[in-house]
Symmetry: C2
Subunit: 319 residues, 2 copies
DNA sequence: CTGTTAGCGCATTCAC
DNA sequence: GTGAATGCGCTAACAG
């Protein structure tokens, strides 16, 4: 019994002969170890919980793939739960995952409140925030610098001569995608001595459809913006099409830039100039960080900021 | 101890007073039931395993969302594992999931071989195939009729006057997306008295990039096809752009139709005419079927075929 | 190196 | 209705 356990767990204290005999018996009897019993006895489930806003959103799906690949590499499985950025559902999901005795938790979502942190604390397993972070930076997290990414994007526009630059923002309640990217936009303009005009900013919901109204609004303005910075690629693509559907050209009449670099960005015409967010890496690195935490390995850097990168394509004219 | 168990499990044989007292104690002590111990004792984990080719592929991600929503509704959690359509990895993943004592298994993948079925049989938990099926239809499954979907798509082309119809196929080794859709193409042509020409068929790998070469090949043919049927939307979008990049127009010079209806289909210009495959429903229905199987409820129909639907957009001229 | 023992935290008998 | 006892299948000391 114990010897079998040793063999199955690769414990070196077994004579090669007996090891072989055990393997044969396992084969012959079709024995399959019961991971639940093992989990109960060892207090390790080799399973991590992943709270995700929406797996059908390609951005999160890409992150999830990074998570799963690294999890798999370290022999963890992941329990995936959609929470739609609803705080109540997020808390509920966290508790369920904790009941299932996951060895660690990966949280991607919008806002990380005190209540979230409270829920995390009721358990002793490590938690890593993935593509987001908490206000006071008290928790381990992996993300990009959204503000800087937005600032860089707008600077691309400024560098190619634009001064009438509009923005399609995400909700300003969201500290990462929403507020931080808006701040980046503002700071870029201010640094260039361009005043920020309220009518040049419209709030969307990150999705394609939501940029249609924003662009229609911009087209009626005078002076009409010569460039649009969109907080997400999806809204940027919606913007490009709306501009085209109104008889104007991208980038000749209006340039468009955004942040994300989803697959679709290289599939539209014109292809979309954007600031790439390393989605896969955000997932992979946060899972890797979680494995370290679960192993109680020391880690120097608990708040990882991954680099972003400007991808020059066709929706902004090269200067 | 036993009473607490009854309360937590909603067993009616508890006096309301004691129930209340137990709940208070739970609250006060911050007691959290251990689902692993419960799983060991009850032989139920309220967890189902999901084998998926690639969660970062939007088609599968959409199916996964359907699965998770219904799973959540029935208080199941899902363990998600990518297997990249690699048979060896699929089998390995199935076994890991079974070790974790999942109550059921959802399998989406390419080919379901005897070895897969063998792996399923080593456990007694129910399995549902999701977006695929086995050759002999011996296993519960939920899918669309890929051949009919392809046939309907090609008939749209024929109905609008096309006779020189090329196809960008997926790999013919894949019985569902690949072979079945190719069969549909052939049958549609044959039914219309159009002969199938080998040089009108090119095999891609389902992805955007792979259709570029195919289209270039078609453009050099004489007679040049006036329409292209693509096995997937992604390849169709690649086709549209390649056609446009070569100075031709869609649909005026070459019409394009495909099967899937991914989000992107309505985001390209021209928007893509395609046969919609109900991704979300495939996931939802297969999860629902699995819950029935796990509860040993009787189910009339073990091989569900969901309807597909032609979505007329702009990449085929309306006749 | 290998076998024996005692839990892990629950659900599930079975008595009361 | 409620409490006490047993075991789910395994790991982790502990002897030998």
């Amino acid at each position: 019994m114990a010897t079998v356990s040793r063999v199955v767990n690769n414990n070196p204290n077994v004579k090669p002969q007996t090891r072989k005999k055990v393997f044969e018996a396992i084969e012959r009897l079709g024995y399959r170890p019961n991971a639940v019993a093992r989990g109960l006895a060892s207090k390790k489930t080799t399973t991590v919980g992943v709270v995700i806003p929406d797996i059908s959103n390609s951005i999160f799906a890409e992150v999830a793939r990074g998570i799963e690949d690294i999890a798999n590499m370290y022999h963890y499985n992941i329990i995936l739960s959609n929470a739609d950025k609803k705080k109540e559902k997020e808390i509920r999901v966290i508790n369920t995952l904790l009941e299932k005795q996951v060895d660690g938790l990966l949280f991607m979502g919008g806002i990380v409140t005190e209540d979230h942190i409270q829920a995390f604390r009721t358990s002793s397993v490590p938690v890593v925030l993935c593509g987001t972070k908490d206000e006071n930076n008290t928790m381990p997290s992996v993300d990009i610098d959204h503000e800087k990414a937005a600032l860089d994007a707008v600077n691309v526009l400024i560098a190619s001569g634009h001064r009438d630059i509009a923005m399609i923002s995400g909700t300003l309640q969201d500290p990462a995608n929403g507020y931080a990217r808006y701040q980046g936009y503002k700071k870029a303009l201010e640094a260039a001595g361009i005043s920020v005009r309220d009518e040049y900013v419209r709030v969307g919901n990150y999705r394609y459809e939501s940029s249609v109204d924003a662009v229609k609004h911009f087209l009626e303005l005078s002076p009409r913006p010569t460039a649009i910075f969109s907080a997400t690629d999806e809204m940027a693509i919606g913007a490009i099409h709306t501009i085209q559907d109104n008889g104007l050209r991208v980038p000749q009449d209006i340039a468009v830039i955004s942040v994300d670099n989803i697959r679709m960005a290289s599939m539209v015409r014109p292809t979309l100039t954007t600031v790439a967010q390393p989605m896969y890496d955000i997932g992979a690195v946060s899972m890797r960080l979680l494995t370290k935490l679960m192993n109680k390995e020391s880690t120097d850097n608990m708040q990882v900021i991954l680099p972003h990168e400007i991808i020059n394509r066709q929706s902004v004219a090269q200067s």
